[in-house]
Assembly symmetry: C2
């Protein structure tokens, strides 16, 4: 038996490493990335701006300028606090570390898999509460689970991934009011949704909101943020590792994220494309298409695995969820640009007429 | 009582947030940064290289190219594994998360403060073992502490921060052989030291080595690495958050860290400057200067706090450790370039002739 197998706790050994398959030159509609590259006329200015950064020095520890940039981009009120992380993942982990061992993280299922994974990493319990058959909150079941498991953290993705829908606002507010837990609304897809809980932070002291720039054109930056009451953020900040946001991320984001009009324009295009794609998918007989407030669409498809493979053979990569719990026969497609979406639809239609 | 004070565990609330004072336009000799900026003729090529990165896409999840770049820069054998983190801090936290709650991290004192901090963050015990009066390992005391506390992780900074010296190699090997713990040799300052434990990984399955590019000219990248047996790294990798190294860091490091000759040349200059600075400091009567294998020098100074303030008033920032445990009257100065070191020495001499 090797040293590490003897040394490492067995629940981590039992994990299969999260493997991202290489996508080569495929059209990537699998990871909720924005299809829009930086505009050419911006790249030159951006690089000139970056040229001044002193890479031999540590980053600005508080990243105050980036904090302001994000506040302006996302219209975050001055009296809320903002905490930055390397993607939302680092912030989910930080929240989990704020708990005591054996505290419980509660979320809904199906939802973002990292809530469960990070609970395991940080030695917390994880409790998943089933959504209804059409992926809505089951409020009675949620309240019952909260009563029974007394969670310390409740994660609700809004819109939810991988289902794409937003849950009922009144039901979410009922949950927030029913618990002593910190309720984390994960708004990774906020740019594509009609509603947000960010202003509700003023009303509910136990509410915090996660966001990221990954879905609005900057997945390569790995920049996430937590928004909450000033005093909440000040305390959580004690768990942040020093200099966690590097110089390149700070400088790049400070330049690129001030292009609010461009970012909003791109989001509007995706919302329009989502509507077109939804209509087109619904026209394919046999598919069940779920409503979406995000930049992806979940649909149930006959012979889902085969369709997934056929798309891949034809150069389009989407996400295959067909063997995941409660997602039998489901596939998830990221909304791309018009050409990508047309190509995707063409292959889907072709598959079902074979 | 506010929500967060009620919600957050009290040991975290009791922490004073790690505060990095603003350094303004001062000569920074406080943080072990390299004084050397990127060569002008490299910046243009670097930016051109960076222009091709697709920021709308997620980073390469495995960062394989960067892995190879670091292997070549640091002469890491092919049969060892390499795990990347946002600075060594993220890797120290990952190692701590691999433990069970209430496992013990053991280190020496004084040493790098993050071992203790991260033990707290991750709900582990921390045990510090005192160094001897002249900052050497107290082997008997170490072996006794290992026997008594049965640590899961032992951190030894080699060279040690903030003392600057390397411990006795034979004594370290004795410790590695005496324990079932994973022994982590933190070689952040490897570029300035005469010896390394990296090749000893082949001999000791419970040994891993941490390194970083922060002290060799790239503190702004926040890039650290753990080197260990392949199977050790493969298991620890399960605890790594997906896409933890962002695109900008990967692309920048892949370009900049291939400049091995330049990096080695700069390290050689610092080693030479360290020797000059050491001689100059020893000439100042009243100072006790400790030997250094790192890019900084620890010295004990009469009226240390006043000297620190005087340097600051005159535009030079060093690190004041004079009120830290076991470091009474001690100051730590980073070795800068010749001009910076001369300026520092001039102010020190001036202070003692006032």
């Amino acid at each position: 038996m090797s040293f590490i197998n003897n040394w490492l706790r067995s629940d981590i050994q039992a994990i299969n490493a999260y493997h991202v398959p290489p996508s080569g030159d495929m059209v990537k509609l699998d990871a909720m990335e924005s299809p829009f590259p930086l505009p050419d006329d911006l790249i030159g200015q951006y690089l000139a701006y970056l040229a001044d950064s002193e890479l031999n020095r540590y980053p600005n520890p508080g990243a105050e300028e980036l904090n302001q940039t994000l506040r302006q981009l996302m219209d975050i009120a001055d009296d809320f606090g903002v905490l930055l992380g390397n993607g939302s993942d680092e912030l989910i982990q930080l929240l989990a570390l704020a708990c005591e061992t054996n505290d419980t993280i509660l979320s809904v299922e199906p939802s973002f898999v990292m809530y469960d994974m990070i609970a395991k990493f940080t030695r917390l319990n994880y409790q998943g509460v089933a959504l209804t058959k059409d992926y809505q909150l089951d409020l009675a079941l949620m309240l019952q689970a909260i009563e029974k498991h007394n969670p310390k953290l409740i994660f609700i993705a809004y819109p939810n991934n991988p289902t794409g829908n937003t849950f009922d606002r009144v039901e979410i507010e009922t949950i927030i009011q029913s618990t002593d837990a910190m309720v984390v609304l994960d708004e990774a897809y906020y740019a594509y949704a009609g509603d947000s809980f960010i202003d509700d932070i003023a009303k509910y002291p136990n509410l915090v909101v996660l966001r990221t720039v990954s879905k609005i054109g900057f997945a390569g930056l790995r920049l996430g943020l937590l928004v909450g009451a000033q005093e909440t953020v000040a305390e959580l900040d004690k768990l942040r590792l020093p200099y966690n946001i590097n110089t390149l991320t700070q400088v790049s984001a400070n330049f690129l994220l001030t292009e609010k009009a461009e970012i909003n324009k791109n989001a509007a295009i995706i919302i329009e494309q989502r509507q077109l794609l939804l209509i087109e998918l619904e026209r394919v007989s046999g598919l069940t298409v779920y409503p979406s407030q995000a930049n992806f669409i979940l649909f149930k498809a006959p012979r889902a695995q085969e369709l997934f493979d056929y798309l891949k053979e034809n150069g389009v990569l989407i996400k295959n969820l067909s063997s995941a719990p409660k997602l039998t026969d489901c596939l998830r497609v990221t909304v791309g640009d018009n050409d990508q979406n047309q190509l995707f639809m063409q292959i889907v239609k072709q598959f079902y007429t074979l």
